[in-house]
Symmetry: C2
Subunit: 586 residues, 2 copies
């Protein structure tokens, strides 16, 4: 306005200069708007059922905008993500959890059904809106029933601020989600897990890399069977199940982002003939570790570097195998495609073989290698204000198989816990706080003496800003000589992994072994068979936050708890997250 | 009180008599309370997934209290039904529609998702409460997506007042629900109906009588297929698929209640070797008609009488076959068990054969035989206040196959229409009223010239108490030389069936043929290929009422409209029916 006004004044030359300067500044400013300034990134997504054949066997999946995996969000720190999510499913509600995003100030958009919000009803459009505060590899997925297992997931990648540099160099970038896959529908799996007698989902039929696997169609009866519409259609030439291509130029170094959304399996990733250097775990810089293969637990993300330094006349397998459970699933394969070799040129080498499935020390040792990168340490507070010891057991409840924490098996409420706390809806959840420590003496080396659990929806509430330690104590399942890996994921926070241990955690001595120097920050951590893991976090994010085993059937069978802090500091919740259970009376 | 007070008075003998009388009266009164006075009948139901093998092939169904079909409600006129319905499904909402019950004064308990109420969310308990005002054979079923096809249904039988007599006699009573059955899941069927290219559900694999059918297991590949959990399990010896038994004593006469909840098929019912006398249709007395077999359309109920007058040393088949579509499904069989013959004694006779599937005149003539019983006529009002002509066509919308009324295909809202009208939520539905008559000239003998439909959720609103005629005009589908049967069902009302006609309805002449004398009252009526049916009803039930084809895939594909009247006379809606869409802001 000033520049414009000065045109009619005496200082014409100066004014002319000013106008030019102004215009240049405007142009620069515009450039900066598109490149450097935080942006609001708007997405319109519709969730629908879709016939899809990720492993050449067709089934009904839950897809977003007709895509599987769902659309990748690529954004920058400081950006605001707005997702208008329309639920096109006929009778199912949906939510989307943004795994690893802390939702500071927007806990109602954490996307957990009956915790942060009511499920989005069929036909409704719900808008998620949240800011990205930290760069990294994240993902999103359904967090209602076992909808993640139905294919309802995708990637969310956050680049650092313009000019910010990673402490490692690479020429190109690749990204994959790895997963296990079943032919039985999600509904069938859910039914079996709650059935008497119990029917387990069993080992997966296939392993997927970025949504693509390959099933051995010769195992399926040929032709379609009269009247058996549910009988699998297998078609090996379906483009949906051709191997995912990872194209590389010989000699160059790549950053590969790896996310596991596995429903059940601990997965091991191998790049045939190539070492990998772990540089990030759950989006934090870690001390570089060179590995031949990488264990990835459901809910974890990694960035690894590798150099395309092998014989460039060949292509190589990228492979995923099951570890931690006796494998009954063929290797999942993608193609490391050395350009300009054609992607149709498949390796003649056999599928890479992973370390033996029950070498748990191998896995434990790899997890222990993950520590904060030198110079990037964020030391944990020296002492906790409160210590929780979670004995995790397999239990029975009214004849049904369950998982429980200190003998309480989690059952979802029908009112969002966040709304219940915020508005004092005391009938919406168990007001008796669940126990901080196991309520009975226990052994971890045999099936529980008292396998009966009680049902709970109790909430662990923390003083705002307090420091909480959680020790997850693994134990024997209901079957003799069996204990399983459980990757525990915390919403709304990262935690320091202070120590992994074997046997029973000793509160008197084990804390002395805690790593208070370069403990890694993570949002998901495995607890190994017959062992424990000690975590620390600061309860400084106002909201209500699930903490649960990321194995989909385990959480569905009750393996989780609810944490809450500082909800009294929150403004009124958006109306859009209410409407179910007692929250319809607000 | 008087009797008690007189005890201390002088007339002791009289008092003693009075006390005795009083006590006798009390006892009589109590007896009357349990026998004759209207009762409140309280039910606690939980909806869950269940593995079930209605036709020997296992699939996941939607069951109530672990039963299939759901529990039978047996009550008496004047009783109040209270159903506390807990939704135990993990991610799906549910509602229950009480088919044939008018819900006068309680339109919010009609149980139609997004019309009368929000779906009941997982974990919620919703209470239906309504009075039974008329005796008859009714049923209930899911009315959300295609949940009825998942087995979510059961019987509701209302006895007349104590002392009230039916105008026919019988010695015993039997009741069956007949149905068609698919092995593909409801989700798979829904996905196909909205897929591009369209995938039809196809002909059913089996026909069920009271939840039991039998599939030819030799059509299923033997053994389970590695990794193909969805592949059918077939077990002919499963007790869940043994024929339903209709036990009768030789020489006696039985009332058989027949309800069709078929998803797709027009069904024909035969009692081998026994004639049947139709005495009720949709719970109204009709002029007795003797038939050898009975066409029953989805949504209809009948009572027939038959006498066990055949060779008592044998048992007989009760049989269901498909009519109106080219059959590709084996006969559904139950056992008419002449006592004391063992129920294991199966007839050696072949399955009864039904009239040829496309003898539509046979069906039309049977429907025309249904008229009000002499002495029980309820004459329709002589003239309508408004006439609607509904051209029903198969259409395309954005490449998807649809059904439409006057070229508008119904899409559910995300706010209950009842709440939208009552509280003036104008953004919740299309405020432009849909057309009373076809908007374009049309031919019914060829696929529509303009097959494109538009989407609508418009509402036909009627002046309270006015008389409405609806003519449903059938037409050719998108395939040449094809027109299908559609059983149309109206909620909240019965209608008089004034006439069935062939070809295009002529508003000038056809009304002269209307039956104004003994037109039957029904809530469901078939419209036959290339024909029309004329209905009349009085819009005197405050509420919002779907009127739709009772073929599950057809309504799912948009073959329905919403009627509404007198909603301004209603008190505030119960909070329990709100919470979704714009109704969460109330």
């Amino acid at each position: 306005m000033k520049a414009s006004a000065s045109l009619v004044g005496p200082g014409w030359a100066l004014a002319k200069f000013s106008v030019l300067t102004f215009l240049i500044l405007v142009v620069l400013n515009l450039a900066m708007t598109t490149e450097a300034r935080p942006r609001i990134r708007h997405y319109k997504w519709k969730v629908d059922y879709l016939y899809f054949s990720p492993d050449c066997v067709e089934k009904v999946i839950i897809a977003i905008n007709g895509q599987f995996p769902g659309p990748t969000i690529r954004a920058r720190v400081g950006d605001t993500i707005v997702v208008e999510l329309e639920n096109g499913l006929p009778t199912e509600g949906v939510v989307i959890h943004w795994h690893g995003i802390h939702q500071v100030g927007t806990p109602w958009y954490d996307g957990t059904a009956f915790v942060s919000q009511c499920p989005i009803n069929p036909g409704e459009t719900f808008t998620y809106k949240f800011m990205l505060s930290r760069p990294g590899t994240y993902f999103y997925h359904g967090h209602f029933g076992m909808q993640r297992a139905a294919g309802f997931y995708g990637s969310l990648i956050v680049d650092p601020e313009h000019g910010a540099k990673e402490p490692f160099a690479y020429d190109g970038e690749l990204s994959i989600i790895i997963n296990d896959w079943w032919h039985r529908s999600m509904y069938d799996q859910e039914t079996g897990l709650f059935a008497i007698p119990f029917r387990f989902v069993g080992e997966p039929q296939s392993l997927l890399i970025e949504g693509r696997g390959r099933y051995n169609c010769s195992l399926v009866p040929s032709g379609s069977v009269a009247g058996s519409g549910d009988c699998v259609n297998c078609n090996s030439s379906n483009p949906q199940c051709q191997p995912y291509i990872l194209p590389v130029e010989p000699g160059k170094t790549y950053r590969l982002r790896i996310t596991s959304v596995a429903s059940l399996s601990s997965l091991n990733f191998i790049l045939e003939g190539h070492n990998m250097t772990i540089v990030k775990a759950d989006s934090y810089n870690v001390d570089p570790v060179v590995v031949e293969n990488l264990d990835v637990y459901s809910g974890e993300t990694y960035s690894v570097l590798f150099t395309a330094n092998q014989d460039p006349s060949k292509n190589y397998w990228a492979a995923v195998n099951v570890r931690g459970r006796k494998p009954a699933t063929p290797t999942g394969l993608a193609l490391l495609n050395y350009l300009p070799n054609p992607s149709s040129m498949l390796p003649s080498t056999p599928s890479p073989v992973t370390p033996v499935w029950n070498d748990f020390d191998y896995s434990l040792n790899q997890s222990k290698l993950i520590v904060a990168r030198k110079g990037y340490e964020v030391p944990p507070p020296p002492k906790p204000d409160r210590q929780l010891i979670f004995l995790t057991t397999q239990n029975k409840l009214n004849g049904r198989m369950k998982w429980a924490i200190n003998n309480i098996t989690y059952v979802p409420t029908s009112t969002p816990v966040l709304a219940a706390l915020k508005y004092g809806l005391k009938k919406a959840y168990d007001s008796i706080p669940p126990p901080d420590i196991p309520t009975h003496s226990f052994s971890i080396n045999a099936p529980p003496a008292n396998p009966n659990a009680t049902v709970g929806s109790g909430v662990y509430t923390f003083q705002f800003g307090s420091v909480v330690d959680v020790i997850i104590q693994n134990a024997n399942t209901l079957n003799p000589n069996n204990s399983e890996i459980h990757p525990w994921h915390l919403h709304g926070h990262d935690f320091w992994v202070l120590a992994y241990g074997k046997g029973i955690f000793d509160p008197a001595t084990d804390p002395h072994s805690y790593n208070l120097k370069n403990a890694p920050l993570k949002n998901t951590v495995p607890v190994f068979p017959y062992g424990w893991v000690a975590l620390r976090f600061r309860a400084d994010n106002p909201g209500v936050w699930p903490f649960h085993c990321h194995v989909e059937p385990h959480f569905y069978m009750g393996m989780g708890v609810i944490f809450a802090e500082g909800w009294d500091r929150l403004p009124n919740l958006p109306k859009s997250v209410l409407g179910c259970g007692l929250s319809k009376h607000l």
